[in-house]
Point group: C2
Chain length 446, copies 2
């Protein structure tokens, strides 16, 4: 057999996680990575902590595997090389060398699209002004770190209150700035139900963040943000309104797009076109509860999808069953986590959901470090099937969401969660783990 | 209907957790609790932390619900009243009032045996000397707290290296004592596989505990412990060699005993005799992986069994499916957790198990508080079914065992664990949760 030529577009996890798996199946594969930026395999999730000064030592601390390391294991990593067009019939990629401006064509047997996502930038007046920053690439991080450290930034305005928005808000509070978060909806973190969002709002207030709910941003001018509630002054604006799949290349080549405009893939991470694959923030996933197609831009998902794509490219057989949208974040001392469907999503999926919330503590109540936490649990009326969960609380709260994620994946009902043999000792949990207490409440309600 | 008369023998969780459930079904029930000690509904698991001075405010801090509180909700709690015999034919309990020395008979429609466990006291010379302490009741705790605070205790010897033994060892280190732990087997914490026990041994050494492995205790004399390795001096001895079910009453009445001599019950917590129930450390459980009967003396199990018994006594229908032996402990800054079968147990159950261990970190590697952890995972060869897991590591490690406990309960295989949508953010986990990394390793091995 001739060694297969594999071209990976994008140096993000969805692309790079494929490499080891490809080599496992086909050690002879000739793998080329086209990355238009300067970095590979870095943790975008670490950017807020770099900017906030919690992670020190420079942006390279977030790099799991440098281009040089990839090259040492035989991968042809081409930085500043951008795939500008796909010729799917001839199985060629058109490439621009951004350093020289020259272009060339690269043939492939397998094309793996890992073009990632980009922070949404709504077409508002002034959005291209230099004080308006997205948070996605390590180059964004370097820009933000530079201004955080040297820029005399006193007033920061964050647009949007998702995970990235709030983590960036915290980062700039840690840098001593006055931070305002503008959210057009009535709660922060709309992946949570409103009651849990209110707990996040309270934590933000406790940390000195000025949260403006129900306020829309209309545009930007010099050190000004124009909103539905008037003009707000800001030295720096961070966009935290979500990530959209970067699919220009795929769309222009005629590949089918699915949920939220992400590249359509099957559970093998294959597009409809033989030999063309995709993984990461640029492609869609299947939701394990609703069964619908969703777009979840998270590093964990990108890594898993990348491995699955890699195994299949290498001639193996792997499938990625899907996602629950599990996510976790730390807003100061408050931990926030969610998994599965929230009430709005359950309604949209046509599922009759019952929601309960309980308050408990992270440890035995008498343990000195006991902190409050709230667990919200959604279950299907009648069957009792667990649909989703949300946790907001003090240190030690959030990773409990994994118990619910596992239970939901297994199709457990609330009785089965009550019966789980979860770990207990006073420094770790009350004798009834809060997750089990929530399930007990839900049992009464379903 | 005449109100049912329910007699509960024992004020521990297995008994008291039944009460609310009995009332839910039969609000008219006349419930009497016979407790030979002075306390109800306390957390025995908190005793080491009380003795060590981590939990302050006295033994009553460990009481979840006092006798007075139980009485206020209509339960006839009789302290210092001991059930001395059961007349199962006439449905009567013979009771000794320990304060007055008088005896009387108490009739019942339902008898709920929650006599708990007791620390094993092997019949060694000198074991009844007052410097040899068990750790079970709150009265034991008060004794130990008194000597810890006022007793001039300089040298403490702990016999056995299970959870209680090691937690008590830590407690006395915190009190400034020189602590020796004597364990007859070749590793501490024999509920772990030897490799994980070795990690615990290392943590103990780091905390200044003198661990003597492979040493047997032969007897006790004044401030001396006679062992297979010579005489060791000690001002205080703590027995931490396990808990045995307290079943004298049940056995004398002819009730069948099962695993480790614990009271035999079905999944309704019913004994073979109509109207006689049992829950907690005195009765057996079903192991969810092996299917065999086991004796697990843990507060979580007692609470769940107590509720199930209560629901059934109240005329409802509930079942307790079983246990995984999930347990967690903190030995200084080191967290230890286990669930399911270990290698020895798998072998005994006739299951062909593959074990893998991986090292990872509790958070993203670049997070300042990142701590090492080791995850060991057992899976069935061929099927890949997850059988058990063990975790030893720094702060934030141990509660991950719940993910494995949930996965095992659901009958998941290692591939399904790899695919789990577990929560990730840099302060909480590497992008691949260590549990998933262990499952990936196991996938290669099975």
């Amino acid at each position: 057999m001739t060694p297969p030529r594999v071209v990976i577009v994008g140096g993000d996890p969805g692309g790079m996680a494929a490499i080891s798996q490809i080599r496992k199946g086909r050690p002879d594969a000739a793998i080329t990575v086209l990355e238009r930026g300067s970095w590979t395999s870095y943790s975008a999730c670490g950017i807020p902590y770099l900017v906030g000064g919690i992670v020190t030592g420079g942006p390279q601390r977030l790099v799991a595997r440098s281009p040089e390391e990839h090259r040492r294991s035989g991968t042809d990593v081409r930085l500043h090389h951008e795939a500008t067009a796909l010729d799917l019939d001839r199985r060629e990629v058109e490439v621009l060398d951004r350093d020289t401006g020259s272009t060339y064509r690269l043939g492939y047997d397998h094309l793996h699209l890992a073009t990632g996502g980009r922070p949404m930038r709504p077409p508002l007046p002034g959005i291209e002004l230099p004080f308006v920053h997205g948070v996605q690439s390590l180059d964004d991080a370097i820009d933000l770190l530079t201004v955080a450290e040297h820029g005399g930034i006193e007033r920061v305005l964050v647009v949007g209150s998702g995970y990235i928005g709030l983590e960036m808000a915290e980062a700039f509070v840690l840098r001593g700035a006055a931070v305002t978060v503008v959210e057009k909806r009535a709660q922060p973190m709309t992946t949570l139900d409103p009651e849990m969002g209110a707990l996040v709002a309270r934590a933000m207030a406790g940390f000195g963040i000025d949260l403006r709910l129900g306020v829309e941003v209309n545009g930007f001018a010099d050190r000004e943000v124009h909103t539905s509630a008037g003009v707000l002054a800001a030295d720096l604006v961070v966009l935290g309104i979500g990530v959209e799949p970067r699919t220009d290349l795929a769309a222009a080549a005629g590949l089918a797009l699915g949920a939220k405009g992400a590249i359509r893939v099957d559970e093998r991470q294959a597009t409809a076109l033989d030999g063309v694959w995709s993984a990461g923030d640029c492609c869609e996933s299947t939701h394990l509860v609703s069964g619908g197609k969703v777009h979840v831009a998270l590093g964990t998902v990108a890594n898993k999808q990348g491995r699955v794509a890699g195994t299949n490219i290498g001639g193996g057989r792997a499938r990625f069953p899907g996602v629950l949208g599990t996510a976790v974040s730390k807003i100061c001392a408050t931990e926030v986590a969610r998994t599965g469907l929230n009430e709005r999503e359950a309604k949209r999926a046509g599922i009759d959901a019952v929601a309960v919330a309980i308050e408990s503590t992270t440890t035995a109540g008498y343990w000195p470090a006991a902190a409050d936490l709230t667990v919200r649990l959604l279950a299907e009326r009648g069957t009792g099937r667990v649909l989703g969960g949300q946790i907001v609380g003090g240190p030690g709260s959030a990773k409990r969401i994994d118990t619910l994620a596992t239970a939901i994946t297994a199709g457990m009902d609330v009785q089965q969660v009550v019966d789980l043999d979860l770990a207990y000792a006073p420094p770790f949990s009350p004798v009834w783990d809060p997750v089990a207490v929530a399930a007990r409440e839900a049992l009464k309600a379903v």
